[in-house]
Symmetry: C2
Subunit: 186 residues, 2 copies
């Protein structure tokens, strides 16, 4: 069983640090007394302030209605320590199993939303639905990150990046070109 | 100088293979006789068929008006061989320099759009503006990939993934969990 990861609060305007590189994420939700988790790979940062993240959540997911009706979710960042859980969660339905129990994950209380954090993830981004204008047409939800929790270490977590067909790219080395950026472009 | 990369046509419904892991991309455009290139990190796959990609293109970019008015662009996938070009393109303005000439890149003709391909990139995705409903509010463009060109090798190009502050994560090892997926979930 994987261990719970202690975290500190983190500025919501800087969540691009973790989401822009394109990691697969786990989205947790709550509606009434039911919780659920789904695996998601189609998301993008959209704005720093407010901290907006756009996500495609297919209507085929049990989470779709839970998130739309509750207007909340948590975007959780798993590392390679949770690879089997990421795959298992993506290949089962919350209509049939309790994913927290089935995958041995801990639902921890969030600060600003009723949806639970996944304690074993490297980071947790508490989200409120900001704009559902494109949900009917594209299943595209725009969330505002209202509170963020990030582990102190490692600084660059080993994330999973899905390429389809059951294959993941794992994050590799870090390179800095900071000296070549204009300050406003960092 | 980097070399031009020979490519084959690729199914547009499978571009997630390259875009879902979150690489930084170069967006090329044309308006009249002017071309331009911008660096972009805020994008997500939105649908297989039609092959939709959602992108945030700030109005501060010289490319914004070129892409909105022409209704076209090409999303080009650079590898680490083009790291300096990626950074340079992101830190200069097409209002001041000709980016193809300045960075020694080759503007190759596309099949379905007037915007040029960047010949030195690993892949080129020709795009037509599909929906501009969220452009005014969020600078969010939804493009349809109408033709894709991908190099035959390597199968997993070494892509750049931006984390802010001048720091990039480079794509790392590949792992497969294909056997653990339900067929419809791949």
């Amino acid at each position: 069983m994987t261990r719970r990861v202690p975290k500190r609060s983190f500025p919501v305007g800087e969540v691009r640090r973790y989401l822009e590189p394109g990691p697969i994420v786990l989205v947790s939700s709550r509606l009434g007394d039911k919780t659920n988790i789904m695996t998601m790979g189609w998301h993008t940062v959209m704005e720093f302030t407010p901290a907006l993240v756009g996500c495609v959540i297919s209507g085929a997911n049990h989470s779709f209605r839970m998130i739309r009706e509750s207007g909340e979710c948590v975007i959780n960042l798993p590392t390679t320590q949770l690879t089997d859980e990421v795959v298992g969660i993506g290949n089962t339905s919350g209509g049939e199993i309790d994913k927290f129990a089935h995958f041995g994950l801990t639902a921890a209380p969030a600060k600003a939303v009723a949806a639970p954090l996944i304690a074993e993830c490297h980071a947790n981004f508490e989200c409120r639905l900001h704009d559902d204008a494109l949900v009917d047409k594209y299943n595209f939800f725009i969330f505002e990150v209202v509170h963020a929790h990030v582990a102190r270490a490692p600084q660059h977590p080993q994330t999973l990046h899905y390429t389809g067909d059951g294959v993941f790219m794992v994050s590799g080395k870090i390179i800095s070109r900071r000296a070549k950026f204009r300050p406003g472009m960092l």
